[in-house]
Amino acid sequence: MAKYSLNINGKSLQVDVDPNTPLLWVLRDHLNLVGTKFGCGIAQCGACTVHIDGVALRSCSYPVSVVDDKQVLTIEGLSEDGDHPIQKAWMEHDVPQCGYCQAGQIMSAAALLSKNPSPSDTDIDAAMRGNICRCGTYVRIKKAIRTAANS
């Protein structure tokens, strides 16, 4: 076990966990931030996507010991009240079905737009291909990203 001081959603939070613990489980089990979802555990589905220093990464495969003082942003910290342009676009297009993968989809999309405010369809495909949606909401996700990019 080891003590870590993490910077999550702009707050400094302390945990005492096994250094190999993936950030995903630190968020979910220890910090009660359950918006980040467990899907596959091997960085193949994107449900656990968070931003680490602004980059979309899979928290299920990111050990807490290497987070250091990096800025972690989760779905809970993306906006005060669901008013990030990506979230507003998700509302406009009523994107989710079951909803389980959507936090990860939103975090991947938000990271894309922060780097590339006017992505092409190919850019969107490349940024989003790591996020699986079994309900098949991809067409709406893409529309919502285009809407957010134009807003």
């Binding site: 076990m1 966990v17 096994d18 190999n20 993936p22 489980w25 979910r28 089990d29 220890h30 009660n32 359950v34 918006g35 980040t36 979802k37 467990f38 899907g39 596959c40 555990g41 091997i42 193949q44 589905c45 449900a47 989760t74 779905i75 809970e76 993306l78 906006s79 009240d81 669901g82 979230q87 998700w90 509302m91 009523d94 994107v95 989710p96 079905q97 079951c98 909803g99 389980y100 993968c101 959507q102 936090a103 939103i106 369809d121 190919t122 495909d125 490349a126 989003m128 291909r129 996020n131 699986i132 079994r134 309900c135 098949g136 909401t137 991809y138 067409v139 709406r140 996700i141 893409k142």
Partner: protein
């Protein structure tokens, strides 16, 4: 005017007095209209609620809470079922809050998600519930104002008496209305007067989903909760021999390792009590990660399981019978050989019209094709999990289940607690697709909690989830058509089976449209467990049948839509046989609509198109799929769907579900496959089990609905089955290759569909 007897929904009118009165802590972000929260609205929360029936309570200020009693797994019943209530109650949707009703058989009817039935079966009961509550409010106003009920009208939650100019909000009359007798004969609205039904409303949980609020079973937490996971045998046909947890128990945070048995030996299992591995090892500890690490350190010895039997009831109950689990470690190669053998032997005749044998003997030409598809895993994005807290005298569960009722019996028997001491609270499900109709994980979590004497969250890893069975069966279907020398269709023969179930529906189209028709089936027993998977059996047979009809139309020199319409024309004018379980007019209607919307008759120079149509789960669907070849690789461009599901309750959400089913179907058709070697599933996570991803999804999907006034039918499943053939038929046009075996990716040698 539709008049219904409220007796049909007797349970819905039980008053649950504990819920009347204030005390509910709700924020207005629950408002169905998803309006932005502001100070005034928060202050406007009611001080007191009055319960008009099991589904509706009204605050003294006019706020309305509607309960959705059906489990929600993405089909959006949490929005659409309350819309039906709100329509007949005649309230402003912006004043509505929706709550998930927990499992309460004394309070709610039919708490089940599956078979695309929630809207269809909820339609009249929920309209009746809403209209009855409205009538009680009218009666209360009539009593208060001392006027006739006939003179009172309602609109958007306001009662009005035109002659005297009196007006009152529902909230003002709710207290009295809740005390009045339940009226017996209720008038339902005329369909042309609908204001909420038929207008698109956003998902009532939308904001919670996009802000990451805890909604799912796996998100649940209570003070003192422990975490648990399970270890199951590595292969079908194996069981636990012994285990040694010495090392695991020394690992940090690990509390206990023990065995759980899901069923008592004497228990008569229901149809939905499918559990691949009824005996499991459970690991309990302080955190998920510690538990998952310790699992790997438990030394387990497995052994081959001998043939075993248990007593069960069939679908819908009935007398118990003995079910057998065969012994053996099965492999896909052997499955394929056995299935090929079965296609050559006579099957069990399910339907025969005319004299098909004679027609085939005299035919000038016979077209014969065999189609196959593998086992499929459901791969819900939320892996199996459940919260349970079992104490000496009660059990509280929170988790994902499509059908809490049957599993409540199992829980009662396995825990040794009376059913009324078992509370199952319904979580939003991170996907279901049929898998969560089999709810053994609730029993596992409860038994672990009981033994660990603590509230626990049990979580499967993705590998556990993908390798623990209840799959879509593997199937094979052989179609034959007999043609005369002028290419007239003389006879049609389908022989289909699977491991362990047949996919055939003998009375569906094209039965009824062909003079000489034969349908036969076969089954091969297996210890690989199977269960419902989005449009069970239709999800295979539609693709096979509609691919065959495409090839047959080509052989006959006909346009594939014209050919289907000709067959349906026969079924309309002069149907063969009497047991045809489809309406050929509505079937033809969706084909005509998709022809129009896809501009089928206008030559599309840059795309190759495939068409397919199917009727299942009470709804009719026709689909056209366009493929464009880009650098010699097929890319799905557009999909056009025409759907007849009667009245569409929530059109945009209905389109969303249709789009999803199409994407899901294309993904499963291209990539879906789970094979076995010596009983071991050959894929266990998304690095090997390929799922459709955004770049492979169609660029555009248009879902069109036939406008009519038929009572609504379901949508979760019907758009899924036909897309397999629309894709296969378009791939044929694009590549010149007919694809008979799923997944199609294996038939497209050298084609890298994962292009970027």
């Amino acid at each position: 005017m539709t008049i219904v007897k409220t007796r049909i929904n007797r349970r819905s009118f039980l008053k649950a007095s504990a819920l009347a009165g204030g005390g509910m802590i709700l924020s207005f972000s629950w408002l169905a209209g998803c309006k932005p929260t502001n100070e005034e609205e928060v202050l406007a929360l009611p001080k007191e609620w009055f319960e008009l029936n099991s589904y509706i309570k009204i605050g003294e200020n006019g706020a309305v809470t509607l309960f959705n009693s059906s489990p929600e797994f993405g089909q959006n019943v949490q929005t659409s079922l309350p819309m039906i209530l709100a329509e007949e109650l005649d309230v402003d949707w912006n004043m509505v809050m929706v709550e998930q009703g927990n499992f309460a058989p004394r309070r709610f009817e039919r708490q089940f998600a599956g078979g695309s039935q929630s809207i269809r079966q909820g339609w009249i009961p929920l309209r009746t519930v809403g209209a009855t509550a409205r009538q009680m409010l009218v009666n209360a106003a009539a009593q208060t104002w001392k006027v006739s009920t006939d003179e009172i009208t309602t609109e958007n939650g306001v009662l009005m008496h035109k002659a005297s100019g009196k007006k009152a909000g529902y909230g003002e009359m709710a207290s009295l209305a809740a005390k009045l007798p339940v009226p017996e004969d209720i008038k339902l609205k005329e369909k042309q007067d609908f204001k909420i039904v038929g207008s698109s409303k956003r998902n009532v949980d939308l904001k919670k989903i996009i802000t990451g609020k805890p909604l799912f079973g796996i998100d649940h937490k209570v003070e003192g909760m422990k975490y648990a996971s399970i270890i199951h045998p590595p292969a079908f046909g194996m069981k636990l021999k012994s285990f040694d947890a010495t090392i695991a128990l020394k690992m940090p945070g690990i509390q206990e390792v023990f065995v759980v048995n899901i069923f008592n030996n004497s228990y008569v299992r229901s149809f939905f009590d499918t559990a691949t591995f009824p005996e499991l090892i459970a690991v309990v500890g302080n955190s998920t990660w510690e538990v998952l690490q310790a699992k790997k350190s438990v030394n387990v010895e497995w052994e081959n399981a001998a043939e075993s039997t248990f007593m069960k009831t069939g679908f819908g109950g009935g007398d118990p019978f003995q079910a057998t689990v065969p012994e053996g470690l099965e492999s896909t190669a052997i499955h394929r050989t056995k299935m090929a053998d079965s296609t050559r032997k006579p099957g069990r005749i399910l339907r025969k019209d005319g004299d098909p044998e004679k027609a085939f003997k005299t035919a000038a030409k016979v077209l014969e094709r065999t189609y196959t598809a593998p086992f499929l895993a459901h791969n819900t994005m939320e892996p199996a999990n459940c919260f349970a807290h079992v104490t000496a005298d009660q059990a509280v569960l929170y988790g994902a289940t499509q059908w809490p009722d049957p599993i409540s019996d199992t829980l009662s028997d396995s825990l040794g607690l009376p059913k009324e001491k078992i509370q199952i609270n319904l979580a939003r499900m991170g996907g279901g697709f049929g898998r969560r109709a089999y709810s053994h994980q609730l029993v596992e979590a409860a038994l672990i909690s009981q033994k660990a004497k603590a509230p626990i969250m049990m979580v499967y890893t993705r590998e556990d989830d993908m390798t623990s069975g209840v799959y879509r069966p593997t199937y094979s279907a052989t179609y034959r058509a007999a043609l005369d020398e002028n290419n007239n269709l003389l006879a049609f023969h389908v022989k289909a089976g699977g491991i362990p179930e047949t996919p055939i529906h003998p009375n569906r189209f094209p039965a009824g449209a062909i003079e000489n028709y034969l349908a036969e089936s076969w089954e091969i027993p297996s210890n690989i467990t199977v269960g419902a998977f989005r449009a069970p059996s239709s999800n295979f047979i539609a693709g096979a049948e509609q691919s065959f009809l495409d090839e047959l139309a080509e052989e006959m020199g006909k346009d594939p839509i014209d050919f289907r319409l000709e067959l349906l024309g026969r079924a309309i004018k002069n149907p063969v046989g009497e047991r045809n379980d489809y309406d050929p007019e509505r079937y033809a209607g969706v084909l005509k609509l998709v022809r129009e919307k896809s501009q089928w008759d206008t030559l599309q120079s840059d795309v190759n198109r495939g068409v397919s149509a199917y009727f299942c789960h009470n709804s009719y669907v026709a689909e056209v799929l366009d493929i464009k070849m880009v650098n010699d690789k097929p890319v799905v461009e557009n999909v056009y769907a025409a759907v007849d599901c009667g009245i569409v309750v929530n059109p945009d959400a209905a389109a969303n579900m249709g789009e999803g089913a199409i994407v899901d179907g294309i993904g499963n058709a291209f990539y879906g496959e789970l094979n076995f070697q010596d009983g071991v599933p050959q894929k266990n996570n998304f690095n090997t089990y390929r799922m459709i991803r955004m770049p492979e999804a169609p660029k555009k999907i248009d879902v069109h609905f036939v406008k009519n006034e038929h009572d609504p039918t379901g949508l979760g499943e019907p758009l899924f089955p036909p897309i397999f053939a629309a894709l296969a038929n378009a791939l044929y046009k694009s590549t010149g290759k007919r694809l008979y075996n799923q997944p199609f990716i294996t038939g497209l040698e050298g084609e890298d569909l994962m292009r970027l």
